[in-house]
Point group: C2
Chain length 424, copies 2
């Protein structure tokens, strides 16, 4: 078939008539599907159910250090959780802080503590500065941006390439402006574009020489073991920061939400011992301890790194057909007419679709026919995608059949929106 770019007006109008008919048929079907958020699906949720049998009324609920997990105390988490998740993060237990059930909430707590009371080695709280800024590689994660917006932190877009953020720009900006206090990174199978930061990018990030002495890399390693097609390596940025003389420059976050039970998992931070101790002191004014029973439940279920890897292979096996179906449907529906482009991630939870100048219109057309996509613009700070290009596709939750239905509609919508734009 001819690419739309090569069609004349008449051909486009003819094609649009056909597509409008298909679209009307979709609308008449009463579809109600969502591909909006990165929710694990039913089969994935079932993988963790045996964890619910791990602790019962007969269980010994003391941790390896003898602490009673049934009582208050132990702000930094139970010892076997610091050990296991430390191994997961590539750090020693003293560099771990195990928190509540949500890494997002803990990220916010770290961010707002920096804002309210400063970070280790900082001169004063971030709130004492007239203006605070964060670098935001785009496309990125909407919930990171929402936190900055809540705190009134100005966000600066930085392009995210296949190997990570545009480092020339990052280096230049942080060197010049001491109001830039941080950068958001999802370094592996990034949300939403699925890129993995290269060794060179990780090393350049670790070796940054920010003008702000209280600069922090917020390293949201949410998808560390969440491969689907290929387990890609990622350098340990804390190691690299130490080598570069910046041991305190990074906060690494992760959680078990997408190993076990989303929202009822265990979240954690890895950072230098100085950062962990400083944060613990701040947290002491805000918490007595987090849910140590759930930490115990998790560690006894996951056991060790092999346990995590075995579990994650099962997740990959469940997600792969969903990604296969998504990629096939996009390929089949759009390639021949040259509409849009999309990522082929090795892991993570998302495919990013790029359709210059008509993302909003595509999402709107999907919505009207019963398929909810993540709002166009969500991939950018302030929901402002200057190119109106990016759409995040989340194939994890629906079944393969539903994915085909939803993305077939998506393809029709993308084709209509593209023609509308060409005809303008």
């Amino acid at each position: 078939m001819k690419k739309y770019m090569e069609m004349n007006k008449e051909e486009l109008l003819k094609e649009k008539t056909l597509l409008d008919k298909q679209y009307t048929e979709f609308k008449s079907k009463g579809i109600k599907l969502t591909m909006a958020r990165g929710l694990p699906c039913e089969e994935q949720l079932q993988l963790a159910l045996p964890m619910l049998d791990v602790l019962n009324s007969k269980s010994d609920c003391h941790d390896a250090s003898g602490m009673d997990c049934r009582n208050f105390g132990g702000l930094q988490g139970i010892s076997e959780a610091r050990k296991l998740f430390g191994a997961y993060m590539g750090v020693i237990p003293e560099e771990m802080f195990i928190a509540g059930s949500s890494s997002l909430t803990f990220m916010f707590q770290c961010l707002s503590n920096a804002f309210l009371a400063g970070v280790y080695g900082g001169e004063k709280p971030w709130k004492a500065y007239k203006k605070i800024k964060f670098l935001c590689p785009v496309p990125g994660y909407d919930r990171h941006f929402a936190m900055c917006e809540f705190l009134g932190i100005e966000m600066i877009n930085v392009p995210l390439h296949d190997d990570g953020p545009e480092m020339d720009q990052v280096e230049k900006l942080v060197k010049e402006d001491d109001n830039i206090k941080g950068i958001w990174c999802v370094p592996k199978y990034s949300n939403p574009s699925g890129v993995v930061y290269s060794d060179a990018v990780v090393r350049r990030l670790a070796a940054l020489k920010p003008k702000a002495k209280d600069f922090r890399i917020f390293w949201d390693n949410a998808y560390n073991v969440h491969y689907i097609y290929k387990d890609r390596p990622l350098l340990n940025i804390l190691d690299e920061c130490k080598k570069a003389g910046n041991p305190n420059m990074v906060y690494m976050f992760a959680s078990t939400s997408k190993f076990t039970i989303p929202g009822a998992g265990v979240a954690f931070l890895a950072a230098s011992k100085e950062n962990v101790d400083f944060l613990s002191k701040q947290m002491g004014a805000q918490a007595i301890s987090w849910d140590k029973m759930n930490m115990l439940r998790h560690v006894r279920f996951l056991k060790n790194m092999d346990g995590i890897k075995t579990l994650m292979k099962k997740h990959a096996d469940i997600l792969r057909p969903r990604f296969d179906a998504s990629l096939e449907t996009l390929e089949h529906g759009l390639s021949s007419v040259g509409v849009g482009s999309w990522t082929h991630p090795d892991g993570g939870y998302f495919i990013t679709f790029k359709a210059k100048g008509c993302a909003k219109r595509i999402v709107e057309l999907c919505k009207e026919a019963g398929v909810t996509m993540t709002g166009a613009g969500s991939t950018h700070p302030y929901h402002k995608d200057p190119e109106d290009a990016y759409i995040r596709i989340a194939p994890s939750f629906p079944g393969v059949q539903d994915i085909r239905v939803a993305l077939n509609l998506f393809c029709v919508a993308a084709r209509i929106a593209t023609i509308e734009k060409l005809l303008k």
Copy 2:
């Protein structure tokens, strides 16, 4: 025996020689006990263990509304938790927000959200004011004060009487000063003095006319059903606020930490629907959802208000002998010589000891002989007890025998410190 106040110098010196000998004997015993924090004891912890059997790998994990508790979402909590804990708080489900495992952490989140982004109906965030102040009835809870200190909120002491805070002073202060944005209250079996606010005090609090339109009563009803000797009534302050035309003036907090598993319970807020919706919007930038599995586990274990009451009777039966032993030991060791005074609480977790001018010295003497008490001064903002009088005694955790040992030492310490003071 003669009261110390009535003894002459010679008699006091003679008594002190005897006491010093007793104290030395205590020291030689190598005691290591703590009566510092309100930790439930082993027998109490066992009461909740059957809760660990409630959810297993075969359980249906959907809430009453059909929401899957195993996945993300449901920021305000699962429907049966909002219903049950709503009944517990005396409000409708729409007036409930179910949060993580710690009411303290959630209080901090509400406080810091007010600070960072304001409250419902407020003109601007509290941080936009030059100076923010909170009223702190004293003696009070050290962790409330620590939160204010963390946020740089100035604390103003207000005397706490047997029926609640000194209301003339509270009314006058909030009417005059719009920098006063809140008051901390533990209205029932207050921490640490065990008082229960009278109906009159609750009504006066609810009818406050603060100059600050964004004033909030932080109502930490931690011990609502935690009677030991007598279940005392407490007016529902949200009802009273509504009657007084102040429906949005109160945030009521509580948790199951001292029903079930401390630190692994369920925390919640009750407030006007306007407050709940406003807070939910703020929280939306900080959290996806809290641990709904733990909510489900709790509701299925506790079942209903009768379930809570039955459980709390068992707690009372376990705590009563500990409070009996504490009160008997104090009575036996101190009454005849007229040293100090102490509360006789009907419920809660604490006895407050008052020894004008030598609280620090008593705690120090106890510490040196192996018994840790809550630090003197902890009952007051900035750890500054102007009378050096208050000591919080926490009898819940140790066994009856240990309590007798610890408090016998405490009595000796209190007698020595009192004589030292009289001899000065």
